[in-house]
């Protein structure tokens, strides 16, 4: 265990605990809030891994924007403040989902772990390098990404503006 390992374990634990609670809590709003915790944990992990920029963007975009949007959506769809009984999953469904989740995790873990090997030197990438690559190598997808965002905005606007039963 190196120091980085320890740090990673701590942030990772936060992420996992946050994740577990986010998917299990019955309070709808709590779920969103726990997601924030999990994402913060993930951001921390990324930081430990040396990707400061990614961690920053994650926090800014996700925690700052997306989760807030989600919370608004929950409000707009009149989510109850207490436990959400209306959308409660039955025991069979919960058990099935748990099995599925576990299977996915085990599958991924068993495939990935043999790759881990011994400790490696952390290869840091500076934000400048990243910026250089984005505007160099990745310029084409980056431009398309802007189109995607534009289209998503237009689409969201159009969708939310359509009147009820616009077409017969």
């Amino acid at each position: 265990m190196t120091a980085l390992d320890t740090a990673f374990a701590a942030t990772g634990l936060v992420a996992v605990v946050g994740g577990v609670l986010a998917v299990t809590t019955r309070h709808v709003v709590h779920a969103a809030l726990w997601l924030v915790v999990a994402l913060l944990g993930v951001a921390g992990s990324l930081l430990v891994l040396g990707a400061e920029l990614v961690a920053l963007v994650l926090v800014l975009v996700y925690v700052g924007a997306v989760v807030v949007l989600v919370l608004f959506a929950l409000m707009l769809t009149r989510a109850p403040i207490g436990p959400d009984l209306e959308h409660r999953a039955g025991p069979w469904r919960t058990a099935g989902s748990a099995a599925l989740g576990a299977a996915v995790a085990v599958l991924l873990g068993s495939v990935l772990l043999p790759l881990s090997g011994s400790a490696v030197e952390r290869a840091g990438v500076t934000s400048t390098q990243v910026a250089g690559q984005i505007f160099g190598t990745w310029v084409w997808p980056f431009e398309l990404l802007s189109l995607l965002l534009l289209v998503a905005l237009v689409a969201a606007l159009a969708v939310s503006r359509i009147p009820r039963e616009a077409a017969p």
Binding site: G96, S97, L100, A103, V104, L107, V111
Partner: protein, 603 residues
């Protein structure tokens, strides 16, 4: 002379007859003229026929490994047989003109008779196994048409059906035998087949097997045991047809075929035994049945079965050096007297209005020619010495004796021949007694046209003098001993005397074996046996197969359709809810399964 014209002329006449079918007079002229011309041709051919066989090249066909030359051949005995066939055919054609004068389907009948003649001549002259099969089968078909000519009668339809099916069943053997022989020789040329299988190295077992198969076919066509029953039923056909079938064509064809294959038959003891046993039993049994028939036409039919047995017995028993000609000679003489008898009986039946024994009683008194015809026909049939039938029978007895000396089925045949001689004497006597009985005043007989009278007269003459054919060396028959003449004559006499036990005015069968008559009329129940042993099992099997076809074989197909439909319904039902969540669940479940499949397939 090339035999092809002899074969083709009646065939063309048949075709012409069919095409001219609407015009009765024209088709009559064509049929009779062609028959006469054929007779002339055969006569010429016979006259110019030397000792050496003559070949007529056929339209050889290419079929890969197998050579099929389709040649025809002729030799003295075949020329003589061809002559008698043509003669009987002409007699039948002339007779038919009178006999079927009111029949609306006369043209078809005449054309069929021509075709029948042609195919018999083809079998006679065939130098190729395929040609033999062709003639053989076409004759079977023609017999179907002729027997069923009066198809408005149920019994005629049934008889025709039965005749064809029984012979066709036996033909399975014939066909396989022919194919076996051809396959061994890689050719269907008769001469080469005989040569190839006659070589010392040839496989004895196979040869015997194939000949046995052919013998089975012959037994069927010739109505020998166990196929004997169809011929008596075939009496439902018009009398000229019966005359044709019985006298010189279909039933006798087996004799011709086996004579052609005689060198091989003589070397195949197994086939000879089958043939010998069957014909021995048949000739005795048929003679006995003939004696007790209550219908005189059926009596003649059974006598044919018996006489064909006699012909074939010569082939079964004769030693190889004696050759087959004794059988062929009996064919020759049988053709003469049987044609005579049938035509005469047909006349009598017209007079009496039926063929039943009680109806025909005393009908021979109607005309002297009829009486004479019947007398000589029956004398010949009974095998009284010096008339043609007697002469040929003596030759058969002679070769049977020779054969008996050499071993083989000769002894059995000999015993059967003697028994048959006695029985034949008995039933001929009975027939004559019945036909000439003095019972009631005769109705006036219909006038017979002079041509038919001429035909009958000619046949009477031939039945007396036909034996002179031996002077032409057509049939290479040996001497016959006086001892055997005496013995057989005695046997005939015994038969005649036994038949006369009840006096001249009573039916000997009713005197001697009254209770046997109904049984004999039913042919000993052979028909029922055929039905129970062959027809019904086959039909049951057919029903089973039909059931299996729709309910099992097709069930798989329908099952597939049903399974698809059920799967479709299940699939549609599984997607009926259209819940957004389930779609996602499916995706992830599939991810796991596929991942596992992929990963596991790798390691």
């Amino acid at each position: 002379m090339n035999p092809w014209p002899v074969v083709l002329l009646p065939a063309l006449a048949s075709l012409a007859g069919l095409l001219l079918g609407r015009d009765r007079r024209l088709s009559r002229a064509v049929a009779v003229a062609a028959a006469a011309l054929t007779l002339l041709l055969t006569l010429v051919a016979w006259a110019v026929q030397g000792e050496e066989p003559v070949r007529g090249a056929g339209p050889s066909i290419r079929t890969g490994e197998l050579s099929v030359p389709l040649d025809v051949v002729s030799n003295p005995s075949l020329a003589a047989v061809a002559f008698i066939v043509a003669l009987v055919a002409l007699a039948v054609q002339v007779y038919t003109v009178w006999y079927l004068v009111d029949d609306d389907r006369y043209p078809v009948f005449a054309a069929t008779v021509s075709l029948f003649t042609s195919s018999m001549l083809l079998v006679v002259h065939s130098g190729d196994l395929v040609l033999t099969v062709i003639g053989w089968e076409v004759m079977g078909w023609c017999s179907f048409l002729l027997i069923g000519h009066w198809s408005r009668r149920h019994s005629a339809r049934r008889a025709a059906h039965k005749a064809f099916l029984v012979t066709r069943l036996a033909d399975i053997g014939f066909l396989l035998g022919v194919i076996g022989l051809a396959a061994g020789a890689r050719t269907t040329d008769l001469g080469e087949v005989v040569e190839s299988w006659g070589r010392p190295g040839a496989d004895d077992t196979l040869r015997a097997l194939f000949l046995t198969l052919i013998v089975i076919g012959v037994l069927g066509k010739s109505a020998q045991l166990p196929f004997q029953d169809w011929l008596a039923d075939a009496m439902e056909g018009p009398t000229p047809a019966s005359a044709l079938i019985h006298a010189a064509t279909m039933v006798a064809a087996g004799t011709v075929v086996l004579a052609a294959l005689f060198p091989l038959l003589a070397e195949s003891p197994g086939a000879r035994w089958v043939l010998g046993i069957s014909v021995s039993l048949t000739m005795v049994l048929a003679a006995a049945l003939a004696f007790a028939q209550s219908d005189l036409k059926r009596l003649l039919a059974w006598s044919t079965v018996s006489q064909v047995g006699v012909m074939l017995s010569a082939l079964a028993a004769a030693p190889i050096e004696a050759g087959p000609d004794a059988g062929l000679f009996h064919l020759w003489s049988h053709a003469v007297f049987k044609a005579l008898l049938f035509l005469a009986l047909g006349w009598a039946a017209v007079i009496a209005g039926g063929t039943a024994a009680y109806a025909l009683r005393g009908s021979a008194a109607a005309a002297p020619l009829l009486r004479v015809s019947l007398l000589f026909g029956l004398l010949s049939l009974a095998g009284v010495p010096l008339v043609v039938g007697g002469l040929s029978k003596e030759h058969v007895v002679a070769v049977a004796w020779e054969g008996a000396v050499h071993g083989g089925p000769g002894l059995v045949v000999l015993v059967a021949l003697l028994t048959t001689a006695a029985l034949t004497g008995a039933y001929c006597t009975r027939a004559y007694l019945l036909l000439t009985a003095h019972v009631r005043p005769q109705r006036s007989s219909p006038r017979l046209p002079p041509a038919v009278q001429g035909v009958l007269s000619g046949l009477v003459l031939l039945s007396v003098l036909g034996g002179l054919v031996l002077l032409t060396d057509a049939f290479a028959v040996g001497e016959f001993s006086l001892t055997w003449v005496v013995i057989t004559t005695l046997a005939v006499l015994v038969g005649v005397l036994v038949a006369l036990r009840g006096g001249f005015d009573r039916d000997p069968a009713e005197v001697l074996v009254p209770r046997f008559i109904p049984l004999a009329d039913r042919g000993l129940g052979a028909d029922a046996a055929y039905r129970r042993l062959v027809a019904e099992p086959v039909l049951a099997l057919a029903r089973l197969v039909s059931f299996l076809d729709t309910e099992v074989v097709d069930a798989y197909v329908r099952g597939t359709a049903v399974a698809t439909r059920v799967a479709g319904r299940a699939g549609a039902r599984a997607h009926r809810g259209e819940r957004p969540g389930s779609a996602v669940g499916l995706v992830l479940a599939a991810l796991v399964l596929l991942g596992l499949a992929g990963v596991l397939a790798w390691s």
